[in-house]
Each structure stands twice: as C-alpha cells, then as structure tokens.
Amino acid sequence: MKTRTTRAVQCSATLLAAGLLLTACGSSDGSGSGEQAGSTSFKGRGPITYAAGKDSSGVVQKVIDRWNQLHPNEKVTFVQLPTDADSQRQQMIQNAETKSDAYTLLSLDVVWTSEFAAHQWIDRLPADQFPLQKMLKPVVETAKYRGGLYAAPASSDGGMLYYRSDLLKKAGIAEPPATWSQMKADCAKVKKLPEGQGMSCYAGQFQKYEGLTVNFSEAVNSAGGVVTDANGKADVDTPAAKQGLDFLAGSFKDGTIPKEAITYQEEDGRQAFQAGKLVFLRNWPYMYSLAEKSKVAGKFAVAPLPGLNGPGSSSLGGHNLALSSFAKNKATALDFMKFFTNEDSAGTFLKDASLAPPYANLYDDKSLDQQYPYLPVLKQSILHAVPRPRVVQYGDVTSAVQQEAYAALSGSKDSAQALKDLQKALQNSTAQ
C-alpha cells in the first residue's frame, strides 16, 4: 500500500526490468515447483534471510538480533529492498522466477497475497501453528487464499478521519461527523468562523495510484457497496457503489474537496492539513505523531471514517510475512515466522515503530494509549475494515479502479458510466 510513485526513487525502472525477460527463465521450462501447497515439509535448519523494504526505525533489526542471540546457528539476515513497494514486489518476483533461494521470508503487502499464492511463489502455512484467533479477523483474511493460510499477519493499518477539533468546538459541534452529510454540514459551520475563511473541507488520496484504489474502495464500502464480492467476482455497478462514487465526484464538483486534491498522495494531504488548509482529512495513523509536531498540534483529533448512513469502512493496509517456495531451511523459517509475528514482537513494533499490531488486545493496552491516543479509533477502523479486492490479478484490478475512479473524479466521465466501464474491466481481469 505504499504509495506508488511517491517513493519511486530510482526504483521505477525495476518494474520495467522485471518483466520483459523474467520470462526467459520462468517461461516454458515447465518444471514449476512440483510441490503442491499444503504438502510443504518444513525441513532443514540453518541461516535464512528476511527480505523487506528498509526500516528506518531499526526495530526490525532489533527483533532479528533478539532471535539471532537465541539461535546462533540459525541466524537471520535482513536483506533490504528498495523503499518503493512496486520495486519490492518486482525484486521478489524476479527472485521467484529465477527460483533463487536468496530470499527466505518475504514481507508482502497485504494485497499481494493472492497473486503470490496462486503462482506458488510462497508456501502454504500450517494455520494451527499461528494464534490467528487472537488476531483481528479482517487482518487474518488478508493472509488467506482460497481458504488456506499463505502468510502470517505481521502488521496492519487502517484509515482514520483527522479533524480540526478546535474549529469544530468553536463552531459548537460536540461530536465528529459519522456521515458524509454531517461532515459537509459541520464544514459549512466551520467555514463561517473567521478562522475558517479560505479553508477547504475534506481531502484524501486521489492521485492516480494505489491510494486512489484505497479511497475509492472506502467510499464504495462506506455506502454499503462492494468492489468485488465474497467470491472475488466484480459487483461494482450497483446503486450503493454509485452513491459512494458520487460522494467523491460530487465533492470535487461542489468544492468540498479542493481541486488540487486530485494530485494528492498521503504527504500532500498531510501538508495541507498541517498548514491549516483542511478541516477534515482521511489519512493513516502515521500522520498523528507528525501532526503533533506541526502548527496544528493539539488542535486536531481522529475519528472513524464517516459513511453514507453511519460510520464507514476503511480499507486495510499492512504487511504479512510469507515463506518463499524456493527457500532452504524451512524449519528455521517457520520458527522465525512464529517468533516475528508473536504478540511480543508485535508489541515491540507498535512501541518502537508505531506499526498497527494484528493482535486485538494490544489496542486495549492502557499504557500504550498514552503514547498513541489514536489506538481505540484505529482498532474500530481495522475491525470494520474491508480488505481491497483479494484477487490473483490484483495489478489489473487496481489499474482499472484507478482508471475509472480518476475519470469520474476529474469530471471526464459521469459516475454511472465509470462504474459500468469498471464492472466490465473487472470482469475481464477476474474472469480467468
């Protein structure tokens, strides 16, 4: 879920790379991995690697060091991948297509699980060996493919509504809005205040990238619609979905969302909110501590995302830990996965790097509430979250969503037509 282009540094080129000739190797030798998932035998002990994007907090290395101290003969090495999510995925695919054992464990974005599982690039895991029942249900769902567990949930993420509590209070509004129309009404009141002059009402992530898929899905889900149904079939050409898309497209048209928000990614929205240009903003929890250090420190709060007729649903972010099919020392790997995703490690990740844990009870930890006042809201957000479409061809699905949603938001297509076209495109890419 990392932004597609923001972090594109050099990495963009990787994508190109990956392709063209992965082929040459993977294409037609036909051998594949003879192993059927589920029948994996987790044998072999020894050194393994963990491949993920760089972690600037240093907490991953800290947890790995802890493991290495306990298991000097089964050391884990952290292989750092580029920061850009697309490049990470491409490196992992390259690794799989060359059947290399360079990466043992893969840190997968939640939306990649189906694709990696269907290609048998990752092994099916014994579900009974992970404490799944202690985890938040929507989070566990992101690690599954066709009912089988293919990854261990390591961290989660959910969207929240940041709002200017100071201005709402001044305008005499006690509670944050639960619905879109309340939000618009609150906004109108705030804009009548002297401080509210020239402010815009709402923004999210609307640039044509993964963030748009997140925001579009949230709007559709929050209006009671779906993008794909429980079986992964497209079902987006519905009145409910249209109400969701209409909220976004209409807000652009009537100025509730500022024009320039069509170029926003996470950081642009944060910047606008911190500069006092926005009353409401949909963003991830990462922004909380940063905003606390900005001009709006102490003047904002968070609430669950609003919806059509009541609180809305967030999309889910986060990462899962998966085991490469081509790796060695899988017994060690399985042990390390359990260690890396246990409650203790999740607690460390939360404390040191503010990564949302998959474990329900960590959200209720009073000692952590001090450090992260948003935890109760985040828990609600994740509990009511709807995963983005879990399909093998996720890349095509998200492209189609971005294509049509962008057309509707920028006004070059009306929302009914956009949804009709989207339905058709999704049917094509999920048909196989």
Partner: protein, 277 residues
C-alpha cells in the same frame, strides 16, 4: 571596432550566464531542498531557513552504507569506462581507418545492441550469473554495463577519429612509426577532447546505472550509490525521504563535476603530451 568587440564580449557573457542559469537553477532547487529540515520540505522560499544538515547526516548515517556505496560506484563505473574505452578504441580505429567488408553492418549491429532496453537483458543475465556464482560481485555489474557503454563509446570515438586528417598518420608512418605508434602518438592526442568527452559520458552513464546493480546484488556492502538511494526511507511508511534523496543527489553529482574539473586538464594534457614527444 572596439565598440563592436565590446558588444560581442557582453553578448558572450550574457550567453554564458544564460547557459549557467539554465543548467543550475533546477540544481539549485535540489541543493536548497537538501538543506531544509524535514518539516520544511514543502517550503518554496529561495533560501532554506534555517539551514539544516540533517539530510546529509541522514545520508551518511552508517546504516545507509552510503560511503561504501559511493566507493562501489566508483569501482564499477571506473572499470566499465576503462574497459569500454579500451575495446572501443580498437574497434573505432578499425571503423575510422580501415576499409573492410560488412563495416556498415557491424556498426549498425553495435548500435542495435544498445537499443534493446537494459531492462530486457537483466533477467536472463541474472539467471546466468546466479548459475556461475557471480551474484554480489563487481563483474556482475561491470559486464552488463558494457551493453550500453560500448556502443556509446564506439560510435563517439569513431566520429572523432574520423575527424582526424589521416595525412598526419601517414606522415608519421613515413617517419618510421608503426601504425600503432602513429595512432597512439598522433591521432589519440589530437582527438583528446573527443576521447575525454566520451569517457565522461560513458562514466556518467555507468555511474547512474540502477537496474543491473539492483538485481545483481543483495548484500549492502556491494550496492552502488543509486541502489543505496533507492533504499532511503522516511521515518515512517508514507513519509517521503525527499530531503535525503536530494542530498544524495547532490552528493553523487558534485564529486563527478569536481573530478571532471580536476582531470579535465590533466587528462587532456596527458593525452596531448604524447604528441609533443
């Protein structure tokens, strides 16, 4: 006369200023952005206030391994340039000075190889290098870089060699030089600006190569500067490490320019010295 000369001097300087401004204004923005605090990166003021070196500190944070990466880049780009120039000199000499069949075809073939995107040769090579154990070695980055360095060098050198009047060479041969000597002592020095420019351009292309370097290495100790930069990250998942990326951009660019400045005279002088004999 003097008035018009004065005019022309002014015009020249105006031109120089325009060129410099054109090339450096965006770079200035890069520099300014790299000197802002992370919290100020959205500023559009012309001077950073306050000036902060936090981005540079972040780049040189030992965990980034940036110093080592610069060194690796130097080794890879330096070797690539040297090898490419050496091979290309032979080839370009043949192209510029010898008549033989299939010359046009060969030149076309050489340039054709540089047309297939680097991206499309990476994976077969990755597979090949995995088999022969070249992963995490310098040669795994140097050899594929030849695919774009060689055609560039061959074509450029051919043009510059061809520019040289061949009467000189013959004269030298009459004086008793072998053909090799004549080439080394007459043509190379005369073509020095061309050779040097070709070297710079090849070096920069190799210095900035990203894809091959990324695919062929998975150890931090072997990564090159562009790969290291791609691994920069913000403090949290969504934060853009824009400041440190710009700082790194400045840091990979400026040494090149200084190097060119220092070597420019020396190398050209060195090449020319052969001729003075």
């Amino acid at each position: 006369m003097t008035a018009s000369a004065k005019w022309r001097t002014w015009l020249l300087y105006a031109g120089v200023v325009a060129v410099v401004a054109y090339c450096l204004a965006p770079f200035y923005w890069m520099l300014v952005s790299s000197l802002r605090r992370t919290s100020d990166i959205f500023d559009t003021s012309l001077l950073p206030s306050p000036v902060s070196f936090e981005n540079y500190r972040a780049v040189f944070n030992p965990s980034q391994g940036f110093t080592r990466a610069l060194l690796n880049s130097l080794v890879v780009a330096g070797t690539t340039t040297t090898l490419a120039l050496l091979l290309a000199t032979f080839t370009a000499y043949a192209m510029a000075r010898l008549e033989f069949r299939f010359k046009r075809l060969i030149l076309t073939l050489i340039i054709a190889t540089s047309m297939f995107p680097v991206v499309s040769i990476v994976v077969p090579l990755l597979k090949l290098f995995t088999d022969i154990g070249w992963i995490n070695t310098y040669q795994a980055m140097i050899v594929p870089s030849m695919s774009f360095a060689l055609p560039l060098a061959v074509w450029n050198l051919t043009t510059f060699f061809r520019q040289m009047p061949d009467e000189l060479e013959q004269a030298a041969m009459i004086d008793g030089c072998t053909r090799g000597q004549a080439f080394r002592k007459i043509i190379i020095p005369l073509a020095a600006p061309g050779v040097f420019t070709t070297a710079i351009i090849t070096f920069i292309a190799a210095w900035n190569e990203f894809l091959i370097a990324l695919s062929m290495t998975n150890k931090p100790g072997m990564q090159t500067a562009p790969v290291a930069i791609s691994k920069f990250s913000g403090a949290t998942q969504f934060e853009t490490p824009f400041g440190s990326q710009m700082a790194a951009g400045v840091l990979v660019t400026v040494p090149l320019v200084i190097m060119v400045l220092v070597f420019q005279r020396r190398i050209v002088a060195g090449l020319t010295a052969g001729a003075a004999k």
